[in-house]
């Protein structure tokens, strides 16, 4: 099949897709790089010429830069921890034979289909509202003072909202992994005298390591650029300003495209650093 002719034909046929994807990625990247070296204020004079690395220096020296980096990492780590731990537990639970299994599984997957903006709005207005929210009513029912979630524990609230969205994804992938575990292995370990927790630790968890790696890597990619949930809840207030939200503020609220673009480049660097660490830590699971 792989003759010279069919190979060149394949190349030609793949070309449109490759060119489109490449353009899609390269054009914004190039424009970001281009603007990051310019002083470009659309409403205050437009393109004011090249400024070298001034934007980069200003972006890092801003008092909100390091808090934004740490907020970003906190959300990523928090959501990853919650979704992987609860995901494993939920997957084990859903793997048990029970009545109404099909419906329960569909319900568990459902939050993943809700748009981030919508889910954040629902959480903000229906659950976390300190006056009318369901959680406020629950607190009052037990005689406690309602918590103003988004002002008192803003970071925790956002981590909770985002975890709620991503938990189904983790659960789904881990459930399929758990179902592929050979039952004879569990029986063998039972014969070998391993109690339930030891079976989980020595047999189930290692079996899930590859699926967990996939969950962690994919979630990290999406969580680093989280935006909508912050935009509709705290608007970056109370220490929840992530790097992507900071860039948004620089570009749209301060109308400083050059400064925002420099921030974008920093975001790329941060993403790569995180990816490098992750690949070191969990990536080896993908080899075997």
């Amino acid at each position: 099949m792989a003759t010279q002719h069919s190979r060149s034909a394949a190349r030609i046929m793949m070309a449109p897709a490759v060119i489109l994807l490449l353009g899609w990625m390269l054009v914004p990247l190039m424009m970001t790089l281009y603007f990051s070296f310019k002083k470009y204020l659309p409403l205050r004079g437009g393109d004011l010429g090249w400024v070298g690395f001034e934007n980069y220096a200003r972006f890092v020296s801003s008092s909100s830069f390091w808090p934004a980096v740490s907020a970003t990492l906190m959300i990523v780590v928090g959501v990853l921890l919650i979704t992987s731990i609860l995901g494993v537990l939920l997957a084990i639970l859903l793997d048990q034979p029970m009545w109404g299994q099909g419906i329960v599984r569909i319900l568990v997957i459902a939050p993943f289909f809700v748009m981030p903006t919508v889910s954040a709005l629902v959480w903000k207005n229906m659950f976390m509202d300190p006056v009318n929210g369901l959680l406020a009513h629950l607190w009052k029912f037990f005689g406690a003072d309602p918590v103003a979630w988004l002002t008192e524990v803003p970071m925790g609230s956002i981590i909770m909202i985002v975890s709620w969205q991503w938990l189904p994804f983790a659960t789904l992938i881990l459930l399929t992994a758990i179902q592929s575990l050979d039952s004879e292995q569990l029986e063998a370990s039972e014969m070998d005298g391993a109690p339930v927790l030891a079976r989980f630790w020595y047999i189930v968890l290692p079996h899930l390591s590859r699926a967990l790696t996939v969950v962690i890597l994919i979630q990290t990619i999406f969580l680093l650029s989280i935006f909508a949930e912050i935009f509709v809840t705290t608007q970056g207030a109370f220490g929840t300003k992530t790097l992507s939200y900071l860039i948004f503020q620089r570009v749209l609220e301060s109308q400083n495209v050059g400064l925002g673009s420099a921030g974008g480049v920093y975001a790329i660097i941060l993403a790569n650093i995180v990816a490098l660490f992750l690949m070191r830590i969990v990536g080896k699971n993908l080899d075997t």
Binding site: E184, E187, S189, E190, M191, D192, A194, Y202, H207, T288
Partner: protein
């Protein structure tokens, strides 16, 4: 150590009774083989003994103590699974060490037992590999090694050779038999292959639909099968069954004669027919003879060098003292 007694054991899955009340005693040090066609309940019976399935009623005694509701690990039995069930993320060494680690054995003793098991099973060079890097036979030996180090009172084998190729199977058969001679531990071995049963067993238990058809030594079953099922199941190729007039001559509903107990004779012998397929094995030749007027096909064993081919007329003389007679319920007369 290692006497297992089953008293009135039953097992049902829902309304389906897989094993009707069953009694069986496995003596200490005995190599017992459960054999039967697939779906006869032999694996279920083994899993009941192992404790991986709960009995519906009845009592399992191991060394005289009631073990019916004991956890699998507490029964002192080790099991080798059909798929080997090795832990894929652990090295061979860790696989073998796992049951000892779970028992909290000290490291020095663990190392000693691993070393001796590895030496006995030719695994010393592979201790740091993972199961995925081993061949089928090596994986099989690791599974056995994992069982040996526990020093169990009995070994349970669940069709351990069915995933190996034919040549390796013969080799592993010998190795397991030798292991039994050396350890002198009770072994229970489940298989659907009557050749494995005949070659390895001290005692064969023939099962059909959850019932024990016959228990006995291989040669007992071969010489004096209790009924038609056992007669047909033990021995290869299968025994020939003849019904009708020829059987009536012998005062039976049905008579059976093994292919090796029919001699190729000259004209004027009792039976004759036309050779259909002939299988030449070198040492033996098996003829499938048609048009005998007795049964569809009569299988006959002859010497390897006999000069008869497909399509020839053949004359057969059964050895009269080797004919088994069965009544209309299939029981031996």
């Amino acid at each position: 150590m290692g006497r297992i007694q089953l008293k009135q054991i039953t097992k049902s899955f829902g309304n389906v009774e897989v094993i009707p009340p069953l009694d069986l005693t496995i003596e200490e040090g005995e190599f017992t083989v459960f054999v039967g066609p697939s779906g006869c309940g032999k694996s279920t019976l083994l899993r009941l003994i192992a404790g991986l399935e709960d009995t519906t009623s009845g009592v399992i005694e191991i060394d005289g103590a009631d073990a019916t509701s004991l956890a699998p690990a507490k029964r002192g039995l080790a099991m080798v699974f059909q798929s080997y069930a090795l832990y894929p993320h652990m090295t061979v060494r860790k696989n073998i060490a796992f049951p000892m680690k779970m028992a909290g054995m000290d490291q020095a003793e663990q190392d000693k037992r691993i070393a001796s098991a590895a030496a006995a099973l030719n695994l010393t060079d592979y201790l740091d590999r993972r199961p995925g890097q081993l061949s089928g036979g090596q994986r099989q030996r690791v599974a056995i090694g994992r069982a040996i180090v526990r020093e169990p009172s009995a070994f349970l084998f669940d069709e351990p050779l069915s995933n190996l190729d034919a040549a390796l199977r013969v080799g592993m058969r010998m190795e397991i038999s030798e292991l039994h001679k050396k350890l002198e531990t009770t072994m229970i071995y489940v298989t659907h292959d009557q050749v494995e049963a005949m070659t390895m067993a001290d005692k064969i238990v023939v099962l059909q639909a959850g019932r024990i058809e016959q228990v006995g030594s291989p040669m007992e079953l071969y010489r004096t099968p209790r009924n038609r099922f056992v007669a047909g199941f033990i021995g290869s190729p299968k025994m020939n069954f003849i019904e009708g007039e020829e059987a009536a001559k012998q005062n039976a509903h049905c008579i059976g004669i093994r292919p090796e107990h029919i001699d190729v004779a000259s004209e004027g012998a009792s039976w004759s027919g036309v050779v259909g397929v002939s299988e030449h094995l070198g040492s033996d030749t098996f003829f499938h003879v048609h048009d005998t007027g007795l049964a569809d096909t009569i299988t006959v064993r002859a010497d390897g060098e006999v000069g008869i081919t497909s399509g020839d007329r053949i004359y057969l003389e059964p050895r009269a003292d080797m004919i088994h007679r069965f009544d209309d319920a299939g029981l031996s007369l």
